[in-house]
């Protein structure tokens, strides 16, 4: 009788690579790389037709019009996208408390104490013929202005960049002090589809 070997026979693992390849190709085919990023906005709730829009003082409104040729009209003057951020920033912060820029309302905010919150509203109006790309560029510039202001306030009060804030109570305080006040008017059909 032949002696049996003591060692257990090794399992053949050569097909393991094939199995792994199969799984790999499955994932390559069914998945996509792109992570979803974008600009977040909150739409206003549907309007009650009987309710009249609130009266807003002229100094508290910053109007931006975009026409069908993607040209900008900023506060009644033809403007360029490059100057939009600085103008929006100045409008929202009103650092020198000028009489032609928006009023401020003292408001108690936890962690910040009494903070003068701007009453300014940016009114964005676009034509039906405006390109989506231009609209996003304008939204992006406005978001940049708000982000810069928040960052400055965060640096001044907490000494940390706004993007690096981790505690939600701090983030909420800053967001309350500098709200995203962009109002979008009902579109007008001037330039056609």
């Amino acid at each position: 009788m032949a002696r049996k070997s003591r060692k257990a026979p090794e399992i053949n693992a050569s097909s393991m690579a094939d199995i792994a390849f199969l799984l790999l190709s499955f994932f390559l085919v069914t998945t996509t790389m792109d992570t979803d990023i974008g600009i977040f906005r909150r739409l206003p709730p549907p309007l009650d037709p009987t309710q009249k829009p609130p009266e807003i003082k002229k100094r508290n409104i910053f109007t931006i019009l975009i026409n069908k040729n993607d040209r900008l009209l900023i506060n009644g003057q033809e403007g360029d996208i490059d100057q939009l951020m600085d103008e929006a920033k100045e409008f929202l912060s009103n650092p020198a408390n000028l009489p032609n820029l928006p009023e401020k309302r003292e408001e108690y905010i936890p962690l910040l104490g009494n903070y003068p919150v701007s009453k300014g509203v940016i009114s964005l109006k676009n034509d039906r013929g405006t390109s989506y790309n231009m609209y996003i560029q304008v939204q992006n510039e406005l978001a940049r202005a708000i982000d810069k202001l928040r960052d400055e306030l965060s640096m001044q009060k907490f000494g940390i960049h706004f993007n690096n804030l981790k505690d939600t109570s701090y983030i909420n305080a800053i967001q309350k002090a500098i709200p995203v006040s962009i109002s979008e008017a009902e579109p007008e059909n001037v330039g056609g589809q």
Partner: protein
Amino acid sequence: MARFKKEVSKETPKPSTASLPDIIFLLLIFFMVSTTMREVTPLVKIRKPYATEVQKLEKKSLVSYIYIGQPLNAKLGTESRIQLNDRFATVGDIQDFVIAERERRTEADRPLLTTSLKVDKFTKMGIVTDVKQELRKANALKINYSTLKKTNPRQM
């Protein structure tokens, strides 16, 4: 002393493939972590605009997508169309779509539902505005304009 000379095989030894599965598994795990499952097959051409101030969409399960762009099939013309789930739709279908998306989520998740607008950058705003008005009527107020990230704001 020829007795002690080992016999050398004439053939070249085969390279060991024992670590091949490990390498492939590593690749596999990399792809599993870095990619996401494809949502729908696109029927419209989406060239996303660039933006700098972007935020990441946090929870994929709480996002519903609306695609707007030119149809990929040239026979359908160049007019921008709306795509919901795997088919073309009209502006009137959006409210039903939002309600159906809401039904799919649990009660607790419904207020957190975000609508991601994936819109081609050469689309005119008219159709986008119509979609936004419908979303307002359906009370789906949290929206996200899907963009690509550009680090330098001066080249757009």
